[in-house]
């Protein structure tokens, strides 16, 4: 049991740190949150820089520890977030790499790695969110294509995506976890309509996607027909694996900034505020240790993230919300001013106990799959 990195890992960290120090000052200014084409160009440009420097595939091919170092260092240096590349790099890419044919891998993986194409996720539906297997979007076979009709929701980056990892029902008579297939749908296909949704933070972070008789080539199906649920579980295990590493580092930085602000504006003199900040420090330190534990475990077991991700996500999503509540307490009336730092983050953090599997669903997963309690 140790927390020391190998010489090779330290060498990787040093090289990455040096590279980041060199390239970050050359980046163009960040586009405004509402400028979707600008955000797409910025995020893809960053991915292209990573590609040229040899870091593009760190999410796929590197050991879990190297991936941890990559996420830690990029976040500490204030490098751009994976952003519009998220679904391609962390969901669709690994899924195609694991389950796709040689042709499919050749078609899609290089463009994801080089930052040329954006993917979005067509999983959730208005009536199939937490109960994902209840999805109703149908795909009927017609020659060498599936004809898809239905709708998807909570689709991030849909406005600027080239591809959608789409779950469709290919057999309506099968039990609900069967009869689902995983398709790569081009977003410019006739019959695809995107309607942005406004979040409570006032921004348009995600969209509804309406599908009206959209033709998707059968060759775009990843995995066997009606085997999409299994393929999807592969995808989701990545989502709950190391997806939050950078964010934990970011939260610890924010916590330090909140403490400094409290010192400046006098809230630090309130022992109650100090104690809450101290307790949050304990929480984020422990979450970082838990991350290191999970990463070490993944490394020992061949790199596949386990259900331990649910344990992490339950605690992390709650503590992240507490962080911004304390920040609001430190800001005082300033917490009602959208122009102040952390106020939008506070609003955004409200989604954390819902997105990527609600806390209630995660507790079911922990209760049933780890503790072996009977299904309800």
């Amino acid at each position: 049991m140790d927390l020391a990195y190998s010489p090779e890992e330290e060498e990787f960290r040093g090289r990455l740190r040096e590279w980041l120090a060199k390239v970050l000052p050359t980046l163009p200014p960040k586009p405004s949150p509402d400028d979707w084409p600008g955000r797409r160009a910025y995020d893809l440009g960053w991915q292209r820089m990573l590609y040229d420097a040899g870091y593009a595939d760190v999410h796929w091919d590197a050991s879990p520890t190297v991936r941890l170092i990559f996420l830690e260092e990029t976040e500490k240096a204030g490098a751009p977030y994976v952003g519009a590349g998220f679904v391609g790099l962390l969901h669709a890419g690994p899924t195609i790499a694991a389950e796709g044919t040689a042709e499919q891998r050749a078609r899609w993986l290089p463009s994801i790695l080089r930052g040329e194409e954006v993917w979005c996720q067509g999983f959730s539906e208005p009536d199939a969110g937490s109960d994902l297997a209840a999805l109703r979007t149908r795909a009927r076979r017609d020659g060498d294509a599936y004809v898809v009709s239905g709708s998807k929701i909570w689709t991030s980056h849909a406005e600027v995506a080239d591809w959608c990892e789409l779950l469709v029902r290919t057999d309506t008579s099968a039990p609900k976890h069967r009869g689902i297939s995983w398709l790569a749908m081009p977003m410019d296909a006739p019959g695809v309509t995107v309607r942005p949704l406004r979040t409570l933070a006032g921004s348009t972070e995600f969209a509804e996607v309406f599908l009206d008789e959209v033709r998707v080539p059968v060759a775009n199906r990843v995995g066997e027909e009606n085997d999409g649920w299994r393929v999807t579980m592969v995808t989701l295990s990545y989502e709950r694996g190391t997806a939050f590493v950078g964010e934990v580092v970011a939260c610890r930085r924010v916590l330090g900034e909140v403490a400094r602000e409290a010192r400046v504006n006098g809230r630090w003199d309130d022992a109650g505020v100090r104690r809450r900040l101290g307790r949050l420090n304990a929480e984020f330190r422990a979450l970082w240790r838990l991350t290191q534990w999970n990463v070490s475990e993944a490394e020992a077991s061949g790199g596949v993230p386990g259900v331990g991700g649910s344990v992490f996500k339950l605690r992390y999503s709650r503590v992240r919300q507490e962080l911004y509540d304390v920040a609001a307490d430190v800001l005082g009336p300033g917490a009602l001013d959208l122009g102040r730092p952390w106020v939008l983050d506070r609003l955004s953090s409200l989604s954390y106990t819902i997105a990527a599997g609600t806390s209630e669903i995660q507790r079911n997963i922990v209760g049933e799959r780890i503790l072996g309690l009977p299904k309800g």
Binding site: S6, N281, L314, G376
Partner: protein
């Protein structure tokens, strides 16, 4: 980075678990509750097994292992609610003659000016002058309190860390008891663990255990005072909150003397005091935020 138990550490943990199951199973636990007094025979057996001399060099008659190993052993002790001033005697090994072998029982003035097992101890670390006996809430931990200010020193970091390891073990025990009950106790024609209200209590028990475990093990590796303060806060929460939720899962049975649950809760309360002021730990962690930010 290999932040996982090594094979040797796994073997040590399993060995200690087997030893404690033999020396201090459920029957022994309840005999201790009914009997009172420190079992000197048990104490010597623990000494012979290397419990107290674990970190003492082999040349000095110890086992020559490190803090991570000690933490694993104290976690197991916490899991079976092993009574006695274990941490104080362990820390006295190599300093107080006879402590390593379990011939001599050592206690110490801990947080909250509390002294455990004072009447049974051969040696007291710290100034226990004027100590007054309390009617201890925990039937397995007799307590005295020394007058405020006589022994103002806050507990040492190793004392706090090993206490946190015991808390972790008790949190594990509470989680195991809750899950076992939720699997077997039937209401409305099915195991109560099938109901989300109960299932989610159990899930949160495990989340608190795993977060505390990561913090306690990491603190054992770094021995850093801030890591130890964090480990202590999370382990206290895992044990105290865990025992309460375990009691809730047990329903009316959890409120009886016969159930083990209250023994977990009461011990967790005693140890939360022994670790010193929670406010101080929180202040230490808050101060570090400013130090880090510069």
């Amino acid at each position: 980075m290999r932040f996982q138990l090594t094979e040797d550490q796994r073997a040590l943990r399993d060995g200690v678990r087997g030893l404690l199951a033999r020396l201090f199973g459920s029957e022994a636990l309840w005999a201790a509750v009914d009997g009172g007094g420190l079992d000197r025979g048990l104490w010597r057996e623990l000494g012979a097994a290397g419990f107290f001399g674990l970190r003492l060099a082999e040349a000095e008659g110890g086992v020559g292992l490190g803090l991570p190993e000690a933490v694993l052993v104290f976690e197991e002790a916490g899991r079976v609610l092993l009574p006695g001033p274990l941490v104080a005697t362990h820390l006295a090994a190599g300093v107080v003659p006879g402590a390593a072998t379990g011939e001599v029982v050592v206690t110490a003035v801990g947080g909250g000016e509390l002294v455990e097992w004072l009447d049974e101890a051969d040696v007291v670390v710290g100034d226990a002058a004027g100590a007054v006996a309390l009617r201890s809430v925990d039937p397995l931990t007799p307590l005295h309190r020394v007058p405020a200010g006589v022994s103002a020193a806050r507990p040492g970091d190793l004392f706090v860390l090993l206490t946190a390891a015991e808390q972790l073990g008790t949190a594990v025990r509470a989680c195991e008891l809750a899950v076992q009950h939720a699997r077997t106790r039937e209401q409305f024609g099915r195991p109560i663990g099938a109901f989300q209200a109960v299932k989610h209590l159990c899930a949160e028990l495990l989340v608190r255990v795993e977060v505390a475990r990561a913090a306690v093990y990491a603190a054992a590796v770094t021995a850093d005072p801030v890591d130890i303060a964090a480990a202590r806060l999370l382990a206290d929460e895992a044990a105290v909150r865990g025992a309460r939720d375990c009691l809730q899962v047990h329903g009316g049975m959890g409120f009886t003397w016969e159930a083990d649950v209250h023994l977990c809760l009461k011990r967790a309360w005693v140890r939360a005091e022994r670790g010193g002021s929670i406010t101080e730990s929180e202040e230490l962690l808050a101060g570090e935020l400013l130090a880090e930010a510069g």
